[in-house]
């Protein structure tokens, strides 16, 4: 991993896209993601670097990193890279319809879907906390122990 996070931004984009619901992304969008990464900023925080590394390791890993970052680094580089990926996916010819259109359904189906999303969110958030809070703790102690 480099100071900017992952070594392969293209793999990171493909992983994040799968997490956000797109299985196949175009080479053009992938190159744009790599080219635009600098606009999403950088980090020197060890825990954020760890979370950045997780973005490229598949959708489940990206989900945990996102859940944790949403709570502890809502405006940090992890969320910013996810935002960039979403912006590209919602603008792309083959991918936009999964993002820029709503889903119409009956009221019971909609409320059930929202409840389901809430349960998944809660589960993911708890799992992210259980897995990543110790890592966060160690990472925050690490510079002190080195001193």
């Amino acid at each position: 991993m480099t100071a900017r996070g992952t070594e392969d931004p293209r793999a990171e984009f493909r992983s994040v896209a799968r997490y956000l619901g797109t299985q196949v992304v175009s080479d053009h969008a992938t190159e744009l993601y790599a080219g635009m990464l600098s606009s999403a900023g950088e980090t020197s925080s060890p825990i954020e670097k760890t979370l950045l590394g997780m973005l490229g390791r598949g959708p489940l890993s990206a989900a945990l990193a996102d859940s944790y970052a949403r709570r502890f680094f809502p405006h940090g580089v992890v969320r910013r890279r996810l935002t960039l990926a979403l912006a590209l996916l919602e603008s792309g010819a083959g991918t936009h319809s999964s993002y820029d259109r709503g889903i119409g359904a009956s009221r019971p189906v909609t409320w059930a879907a929202l409840a389901g999303a809430g349960i998944v969110w809660l589960t993911r958030t708890v799992a992210a906390f259980l897995i990543l809070a110790p890592v966060h703790l160690v990472a925050s102690l690490w510079p002190r122990s080195r001193r």
Partner: protein
């Protein structure tokens, strides 16, 4: 040498020029004039655009992702597309620093109204009490401008806040969500009126039938990108018409730095090339009379630089005004799960007024239901991880909306403009860096809290949920309605303006933009600026 030299091609400048040309006078217009890009695929709606463009990502986000709205404490739930970057581009020679004030300036052809949402509201008679002319004088200006640009309006409950004395078009058909909110308001009118809120159709400068080269709105959903049919009025449309007039000259690429004086009288302007490639030599352009229409901030800078040239060491203009601006997102619970109407007129179709026994404290708002828009700024603002936020967003998209609320402002000496003239400050010999100071203001906090509470109560009556945590009071300067630095006044005070726009202390110069407003009402003033420019032109042309 032209009879009138107009500085700026914004809403005020083009309508002043048009009226002068109609009166047979010659007009030369000086403008930095950054140009808008050509519209692509003009007949295609916003969703299909992503399929027909060869590089849609670059079109919507920019070559380097400059239109991506990243999460942050001041992030708005929308972003301007790269195609609108020209509106906010600033020449390097124009340096400005805000202190407690984040100014949004435009040097584009057509000015800031190239990125407006078209709200047009006549001021009520009592709101014109501080102006040194009769309300009926402005009514003629409203009639002229309404005929030129086309404004849709309905006779409804907003009449108590804003009269309809000009000729108006039938408003566009409302989108389903807006119509449902209006229907619910009709059912619950008494309860909503009891909290001081009234709702009606927005009055918008958008065509419901063809007018000249401009075509009626066909709901492409491309208002924010720049309407390719020119249905939504922009001052550049008027400028385009003026270019055909032999009495009119337009000079693009010129940055006016100060007024040119001769024997104490204004004889023209000092200007230089507006290019970004280093300093350019200044030169004088002469005219019978100079008319400042560059917007309150840029016109004020020209006046300050002129005073500096005249020997005043630290010139100041007081009384800068700007509407307090809050955004109140809401979810219409009855529409959760309903499919959104994406390709439709994109901006607000409903407006609201908040009554107050003191008419100066009335608030004004516009209700925008979410239609076509960038998804990521909204999704990242939701309080969940990205995937959950997306799932929730897609289910509730057709139920989302936002109330933009504005409060009036009045002039205070601590809110002021000055020039940083320390050696090395940018700006060249015509002046230095412009400093805008807006003091911390507690005076309207109570009114803001009351207004927000009333809007939330109104939304509850409409069946909408407006989470308090998502309400945002935007930084000062966000309303883009700047005014008050060269106020019209009946009193003979230096650097105030007379009813004909002439500046006391600067004979030969007039101003027709927002800097002349002696107070700032809550409602969008662009229509009043245009009407006042027409009124001023009629006063000056005799």
């Amino acid at each position: 040498m032209a009879d009138f030299l107009v500085v700026g091609s914004g809403a005020s400048g083009v309508h002043f020029a048009q009226s002068m040309l109609e009166a047979g006078r010659t007009v030369e217009m000086l403008d930095v004039g950054f140009e808008k890009p050509d519209a692509v695929h003009p007949g295609t709606n916003v969703l299909d655009l992503k399929e027909v463009l060869t590089e849609p990502e670059e079109y919507f986000l920019g070559q380097s992702g400059e239109a991506v709205v990243y999460p942050g404490p001041a992030a708005k739930p929308y972003g301007f597309p790269p195609g609108k970057a020209y509106v906010f581009r600033k020449p390097a020679a124009f340096e400005v620093e805000g202190r407690g004030f984040a100014p949004l300036l435009s040097f584009a052809t057509g000015g800031l109204a190239e990125a407006w949402t078209g709200g047009c509201y006549e001021l009520a008679d009592e709101e014109l009490a501080l102006f040194p002319f009769s309300p009926s004088d402005l009514r003629q200006g409203y009639r002229t401008v309404a005929a030129r640009i086309g404004i849709g309006a309905a006779e409804d409950d907003l009449l108590r806040f804003s009269p309809l004395t000009a000729g108006y078009l039938t408003p566009l058909e409302a989108d389903l969500h807006s119509q449902e909110l209006l229907d619910r308001y009709t059912q619950k009118r008494d309860r909503i009126n009891a909290i001081g809120a009234w709702i009606g159709r927005s009055r918008v400068a958008v065509l419901s039938h063809d007018q000249g080269e401009r075509q009626s709105c066909t709901h492409l959903g491309r208002c924010l990108l720049g309407c390719p049919r020119q249905s939504l009025y922009a001052p550049s449309h008027t400028l385009h018409e003026l270019l055909h007039n032999p009495l009119f000259t337009y000079r693009r690429g010129v940055l006016v730095t100060s007024l040119a004086l001769e024997n104490g009288r204004v004889r023209g302007v000092v200007a230089k090339a507006a290019g970004d490639n280093g300093p350019a030599a200044e030169g004088e352009i002469r005219a019978g009379r100079v008319v400042l229409a560059a917007g309150a901030v840029a016109s004020s800078k020209i006046v300050l630089a002129t005073r500096l040239r005249r020997g005043e060491p630290h010139p100041v203009l007081e009384g800068l005004m700007d509407n307090t601006h809050a955004m109140i997102p809401f979810v219409n619970l009855a529409r959760v799960g309903r499919a959104p109407q994406l390709a439709h007129y994109q901006f607000h179709q409903l407006a609201l007024g908040l009554e107050n026994p003191d008419w100066k404290l009335r608030a004004h708002g516009q209700i925008t239901t979410l239609k076509a828009a960038a998804t990521h700024p909204v999704v990242t603002a939701l309080p969940f991880d990205m995937k959950t936020s997306l799932a929730v967003f897609r289910r509730i998209r057709g139920a989302l909306g936002v109330v933009n609320l504005w409060l009036a402002d009045s002039r205070h000496p601590s809110n002021r403009l000055s020039l940083d003239v320390t050696p090395g400050a940018a700006g060249g010999p015509g002046g230095g860096r412009l400093i805008l100071e807006y003091g911390t203001d507690s005076r309207d906090r109570t009114q803001l809290e009351t207004s927000l509470r009333n809007v939330r109560a109104m939304l509850r009556h409409l069946g909408c949920l407006a989470p308090r945590s998502m309400t945002a009071v935007l930084p000062r300067g966000s309303s883009v309605h700047y005014a008050g630095t060269l106020p019209m006044s009946r009193e003979d005070r230096e650097y105030s303006t007379r009813a004909d726009g002439s500046i006391r202390g600067l004979d030969g110069a007039c101003v027709v933009d927002g800097s002349t407003f002696p107070w700032l009402p809550a409602k969008n003033i662009t229509f009043s600026l245009m009407a006042n420019a027409v009124r001023t032109a009629e006063a000056l042309s005799g």
